[in-house]
């Protein structure tokens, strides 16, 4: 004990006789000792919360900004007939546009659902169109021979129409009502129920009733 230690610095070294002081220190000190660790935790926790929020969201699940707006026009060649199909000539019909590729497993998976809904609504004025995405016409033709497709399959050179529709990948399916407005966009494979519901929503109620009566 050559030199008195600063009582402010090290209250723990206060000897037994300094009971009054030790008591005073016990009152003020512990609280202060915890304040800095706790305060320094605040930005860490805030940052972790921000990360958790950001990483918890699927960055691909961003709604297409075109839903509710007019569907972009196109004039594309049907791979089978060579006929050019434009969207404007289909005004007055609900249109289902399916972007797909033969290399895409989910497209293969959803194909029977598209086929079944096409069989059901194709004769009721609903137009089905497929637009090929980053694939060769030869492979598309092979896919159709194997799995069957009764509706036009359009070639989209340079993916210009896919870009114009804000497509991120395949499969994606757009439901365009009779006035040419995009009502819904399905990202990923479509189930039969989803196709059924979305197509019916675009039909006038009288027609919906007739289809209901005809359905088994």
């Amino acid at each position: 004990m050559s030199e008195p230690a600063g009582p402010e610095e090290e209250p723990a070294e206060v000897g037994a006789p300094a009971e009054a002081e030790a008591g005073a220190g016990a009152e003020g000190r512990p609280r202060r000792r915890w304040r800095i660790p706790i305060l320094s935790l605040v930005p860490i926790v805030a940052f972790a919360a921000l990360l958790g929020f950001g990483l918890g969201r699927d960055p691909r699940l961003v709604p297409n900004a075109l839903v509710g707006k007019a569907a972009p026009a196109f004039a594309l060649k049907d791979l089978r007939s060579g006929r050019v199909i434009t969207l404007s000539q289909l005004r007055g019909h609900p249109v289902v546009i399916n972007f797909w590729a033969s290399w895409c497993a989910e497209c293969v998976q959803e194909h029977p659902n598209l086929f079944a809904t096409w069989q059901r609504y194709g004769n009721a004025g609903v137009v089905f169109l497929s637009i090929l995405y980053e694939d060769s016409p030869g492979k598309a033709a092979q896919f159709e021979r194997q799995l069957g497709k009764g509706w036009p399959d359009l070639d989209d050179p340079g993916s210009r129409t896919a870009l114009n529709y804000g497509v991120r990948g395949v499969p994606e399916t757009f439901f365009i009502d009779r006035r040419g407005i995009i009502r819904f966009q399905q990202v990923g494979p479509s189930t039969y129920d989803l196709l059924n519901t979305r197509i019916r929503a675009m039909l006038p109620s009288a027609q919906r009733g007739r289809l209901e009566a005809a359905a088994p």
């Binding site: 004990m1 009582p7 002081e21 930005p43 921000l50 900004a65 210009r160 870009l163």
Partner: protein
């Protein structure tokens, strides 16, 4: 570092027999350092402003303009690459589209709007300074400011607490000194 300057006080450099070194001169005149730094800063800032406002003298080719716009857009097929950097087919299609639009006379802003209209703000690599994305712009500055405040606060608090030989002992310290002296004097 000679001890000469240190032992003879702050003006030691001038009293020394030999000529003062640059380090000593600048130490004795902090204004010199500050002025030098300010001058260097001004030169750098001036150069930056010149480059930012004038840009390269030659007009950009269509390809360079495509690259410029593409580098600010997110590739839609691959998440964390720009359209300029991605080798994917979709990015190529986007670059081609940007080229088409530049040739048809659209401005870079119009082209960016074209993509935002389809892919929303998600397509922009730097988020817009509005809405939730504002956090990305404000948070770093806010964190820096808070850190500076916390640092200043901590430094201010620490200074009075530091034991100083000049400061008179507080009544509590006086009492303790008296007690401990008494303990030393008392045999056992």
């Amino acid at each position: 570092m000679s001890t000469n300057g240190r032992t003879s006080g702050p003006r030691g450099g001038h009293d020394a027999r030999r000529a003062p070194t640059i380090a000593e001169r600048t130490r004795s005149r902090p204004a010199f350092t500050t002025m030098g730094l300010a001058l260097a800063g001004a030169v750098v800032a001036g150069a930056l402003v010149l480059v930012a406002t004038k840009g390269p003298s030659a007009p950009l080719t269509v390809n360079e303009r495509v690259q410029q716009i593409a580098s600010g857009l997110r590739c839609v097929a691959c998440q964390n690459l720009s359209v300029a950097d991605s080798p994917s087919k979709m990015a190529l299609a986007m670059r081609t589209e940007i080229g088409h639009q530049i040739r048809s006379g659209k401005t870079p802003d119009e082209i960016r709007d074209y993509f935002v209209a389809r892919y929303s703000d998600w397509i922009l690599l730097s988020p817009p300074a509005s809405g939730l994305a504002l956090v990305a712009w404000v948070a770093p500055a806010l964190a820096l400011a808070l850190g500076a405040v916390a640092l200043a606060w901590a430094l201010r608090r620490k200074r009075p607490g530091r034991p100083s030989a000049d400061a008179p002992p507080t009544p509590a310290e006086r009492a303790r000194i008296r007690r401990e002296l008494a303990m030393l004097e008392e045999p056992d």
